[in-house]
C-alpha cells in the first residue's frame, strides 16, 4: 500500500501481573530517525521487544498492531515473523557484551545470522562481512573475526552488533539504548556511526534512549514515553515548545539549552559532510 509509513504502531503491552504500555502510538517514515526517550521504567525496552514480537519470550503479552509497510506483525504466525526479524528489522541491543554468545567466534555470529535468511554461505557472506566491518570501522581481517566476544572491547562489541544488524540491509533499525553501556567518547563515535548510516543508506532508525543529548545529536523527531504512554511527539526543532512535565523534566537534565545542541549538530554535520565530500 502506498501512502503507508514504514512503521505504524498502536499497541498495549504488559506482563502477567501488570500492564506496562497503554495505547502507545508511533509512526516512522522511510529514512527518518525517531528518538524515543523516557526515564528508566517508562516501558522503553518492553516497547522494543513488542515491536520485534519478542515480548512473549520474556513472559509478556501484546495487543494492538505493529504495521511494517502496512502488514500487521502481531497477527503473523511465528514462522513468518522469524523470517522478518534480522532481514526487514535489524536490532541493536543495550548491553553489547552480554548480547554476543561468549562461546562463539565473531565470524560464527555473522555466519549464523547470515544462514538464518540465506541458503548459500560463501563468498557473498565473506564480501558482505568485510564490507560491514569497514563500514563500522572495525579491523576487517581474519584475526579479528576469529576472536571471541571476551577478547574485544565493549565499543568494538557494539560495532559488531551494529554490523550484524545491518547484515541483511533491513529497512528499519531498532536501537535499544545502544550507547548506555559505553564511555562518553565511544558513545559519540557510535552516535556518529548511526547518523552516517542513516545519511548514506537512508536506513530508518528507531533510536530508544534516556540520553537526550545523543537523541538531539541524531534524531529528526522525538517521542517521549512516560508511564507507559507517548506524551509528546514533535520535531527536534520544536523541542522548546514542549509542554508535558515529563518532557520538561528531560529538558531540565540537559547541560546546555536544546537550541545550542541543535545548532552545534547542524554545524558538525555540515563539517563532516564537507570532510566526506573532500575525502
Amino acid at each position: 500500500m502506498s501512502g503507508d509509513p514504514l512503521l505504524r504502531v498502536q499497541l498495549d503491552a504488559g506482563y502477567a501481573s501488570r500492564a506496562v504500555l497503554h495505547d502507545v502510538r508511533l509512526e516512522l517514515d522511510f529514512g527518518e530517525v525517531l528518538g524515543l526517550v523516557g526515564s528508566s521504567g517508562a516501558g522503553k525496552s518492553t516497547l522494543v521487544l513488542s515491536l520485534l514480537g519478542l515480548l512473549p519470550w520474556r513472559g509478556g503479552c501484546v495487543t494492538g498492531e505493529v504495521r511494517l509497510r502496512g502488514e500487521n506483525l502481531l497477527q503473523m504466525p511465528e514462522r513468518q515473523l522469524r523470517a522478518l526479524r534480522g532481514r526487514a528489522v535489524g536490532f541493536i541491543p543495550q548491553s553489547p557484551m552480554s548480547a554476543l554468545n561468549p562461546a562463539l567466534s565473531l565470524e560464527r555470529h555473522f555466519r549464523e545470522a547470515w544462514r538464518a535468511h540465506q541458503r548459500i554461505v560463501g563468498d557473498a557472506l565473506k564480501d558482505r562481512m568485510y564490507a560491514l566491518l569497514e563500514e563500522v570501522q572495525l579491523p576487517a581481517n581474519r584475526d579479528f573475526l576469529g576472536r571471541r566476544p571476551a577478547q574485544i572491547s565493549v565499543g568494538q562489541a557494539q560495532r559488531v552488533l551494529i554490523a550484524l544488524a545491518l547484515l541483511h540491509e533491513p529497512s528499519l533499525l531498532v536501537a535499544d539504548e545502544p550507547t548506555s553501556a559505553l564511555d562518553p567518547v565511544t558513545q559519540t563515535q557510535i552516535t556518529e556511526l548511526l547518523r552516517g548510516l542513516n545519511r548514506r543508506h537512508g536506513a530508518s532508525l528507531l533510536y530508544v534512549s534516556h540520553d537526550l543529548v545523543s537523541v538531539l545529536g541524531l534524531c529528526h523527531r522525538i517521542a517521549v514515553l512516560d508511564a507507559g504512554t507517548i506524551v509528546e511527539n514533535l520535531n527536534v526543532e520544536d523541542l522548546s515548545c514542549a509542554r508535558h512535565p515529563a518532557t520538561r523534566r528531560l529538558l531540565g537534565t540537559l547541560p546546555v539549552p536544546a537550541e545550542v545542541l541543535l545548532r552545534y549538530r547542524s554545524q558538525s554535520s555540515k563539517k563532516s559532510y564537507a570532510s566526506t565530500a573532500l575525502g
Binding site: R82, G86, P93, A99, N101, E112, A116, H117
Partner: protein, 262 residues
C-alpha cells in the same frame, strides 16, 4: 605437557601398558595353568595366578581396559543423553519440561540395585560374557543421566533468558540454530559431569561384580577379582590377591584427580 594433566597421562600410560600385556603372544585371561594355582609372583606369572591357575597380571590388565573403556563409553552416553534431554526440556514449552523432569525424578527414585538384579535375572543363563559386560554398562548409563539432566535443565533455563539468546532471536535465527548455539555454552557443565561419572561407573561395576551381578566369567572384571578377597583362607596363601584391589584404588585416585575444569 602440563603438570595439571599428570593424572590423565598416568592413566593413558597404565592403559597402554595393560594393552601391551594383553596383546603379548601367549597371554590369555582365560587360560588355566592347572600346575600353578593360587601362586605368588614367578617368572612365568609376574603377579601370580588365581584359584583356577589363570595369570593374574593378564586378568588385571584386561579388567582395567574393560572397565575403563566401559565406564568412558557409558559416561559419554549418559552425558550426551543428559545434554540432549536437559536442553530439550529447557527450550520446550513448560508442560513438556514438567513432564521430562517428572521422568527424571522417577528415574532418581528407582531402587537401581533391585533394577539391576531384575535385568540380570531376566537374562538367559547362557548370556555370553560380552553381553553381560555391555548390559552392565548400558544399565549404568541408563541410570546415570537424570541427575545430570536436571543440572543441564537449570543451566539451559538460565541461558534461555540470556541477552544473547534474545539477540539471536532478534536476528531471526531458527530454533535448531539456537540449540546449536546453546550447546557450547553447556560445556563447562557437561565436562565435570562426564568426569564425575567415569570413576562412579568404575566403582559401580566393581561393586556389582562383587555381588555377582556384573560382568560374567570368564571375562575378568574388578568385581570378579575382588570376590577372591572374601575367602580368608586364600588371603594367607599369597599377598598377590591384594594386587587387583590396590590397582583399582590407584585407578580411582587418578580418575578423581583429573582437574574438572581441564
Amino acid at each position: 605437557m602440563r603438570i595439571r594433566l599428570l593424572p590423565v597421562w598416568l592413566l593413558v600410560a597404565l592403559a597402554l601398558g595393560a594393552s601391551l600385556i594383553v596383546a603379548l603372544p601367549g597371554a590369555s585371561y582365560a587360560y588355566q595353568d592347572r600346575e600353578h594355582t593360587l601362586t605368588g609372583a614367578s617368572l612365568q606369572h609376574p603377579a601370580g595366578t588365581d584359584e583356577l591357575g589363570r595369570d593374574r597380571l593378564v586378568r588385571v590388565s584386561a579388567a582395567l581396559l574393560l572397565s575403563l573403556a566401559g565406564a568412558l563409553a557409558a559416561s559419554a552416553l549418559t552425558t550426551a543423553a543428559a545434554a540432549a534431554i536437559g536442553a530439550l526440556a529447557a527450550f520446550a514449552p513448560r508442560g513438556v519440561a514438567w513432564l521430562v523432569m517428572l521422568v527424571c525424578d522417577a528415574f532418581l527414585a528407582l531402587p537401581w540395585l533391585f533394577l539391576l538384579m531384575m535385568v540380570r535375572s531376566a537374562l538367559p543363563l547362557q548370556a555370553s560374557p560380552a553381553h553381560s559386560a555391555a548390559i552392565t554398562f548400558l544399565v549404568l548409563a541408563a541410570l546415570g543421566w537424570p541427575a545430570c539432566a536436571r543440572a543441564v535443565y537449570s543451566g539451559g533455563l538460565g541461558l534461555k533468558r540470556s541477552d544473547w539468546i534474545m539477540q539471536a532471536r532478534a536476528s531471526g535465527l531458527r530454533g535448531a540454530q539456537l540449540i546449536r548455539q546453546v550447546l557450547p555454552n553447556l560445556r563447562p557443565l557437561l565436562l565435570p559431569q562426564f568426569l564425575v561419572c567415569v570413576p562412579a561407573f568404575v566403582i559401580a561395576e566393581a561393586n556389582l561384580g562383587a555381588l555377582g551381578l556384573g560382568i560374567g566369567e570368564p571375562l575378568p572384571s574388578w568385581g570378579g577379582m575382588l570376590l577372591e578377597l572374601d575367602n580368608s583362607a586364600l588371603l594367607f596363601r599369597t599377598q598377590w590377591v591384594y594386587f587387583p584391589v590396590a590397582l583399582l584404588i590407584l585407578v580411582l585416585l587418578l580418575l578423581e584427580a583429573i582437574p574438572v575444569e581441564a
